[in-house]
Symmetry: C2
Subunit: 89 residues, 2 copies
Amino acid sequence: MGINAVFEALSHPVRRKILALLKNGPLSAGELAGHFDLTKPTLSVHFNKLREAELVAVERRGTSLIYHLNTSILEEALAGLLSLKDPET
Amino acid sequence: MGINAVFEALSHPVRRKILALLKNGPLSAGELAGHFDLTKPTLSVHFNKLREAELVAVERRGTSLIYHLNTSILEEALAGLLSLKDPET
DNA sequence: ACATTAATTAGAAATTCTTCTAATTAGAGT
DNA sequence: ACTCTAATTAGAAGAATTTCTAATTAATGT
């Protein structure tokens, strides 16, 4: 896990778009899938990578799985990028 | 290329370490390679990905190739990450 | 022209990623 | 128990990534 999984998760455009969709509030797997021309199983794989990186958290509500953005991990990535720029850190 | 190539380039720990080494100033391919337990051809592949993403620029000095960090592209990545967090942007 | 140094490109092997279809799990309602 | 909806896991195909060794390019100096 750790920062490697985070940057790996951020490397795919579909996964970055998932995060962008979640920044306005939680969404179910099905709602998220509706924004892509990909099958649900394919999206599930992307959800898994985001979950392993802890960029998202999941909560079940009835038959739906609701995905939430984890902003604290996003901030870790931000800090990691900043540290590549500043000679101080 | 664009932002996809940038995030793809940032996804590998070796490439992030290369950028971290360059933040203190330009280094030659050989000097960079000295920091890794990898062959020079392997490092060349990583340099190419960073160059394609324009995260680094190259300049030849004699028989050496000097790599420079391109901070403006790093800022693009920063902005891209920030936009995943803020509901405004 | 030749040799040396620095670094690359070429080609191949092993692994990982992305995507699909088919099958399975999980919960809600009748 | 059965059915329906929501979403997952399993398995496989094709593409891309990472790494190596061997060969090549490029510039410098004798």
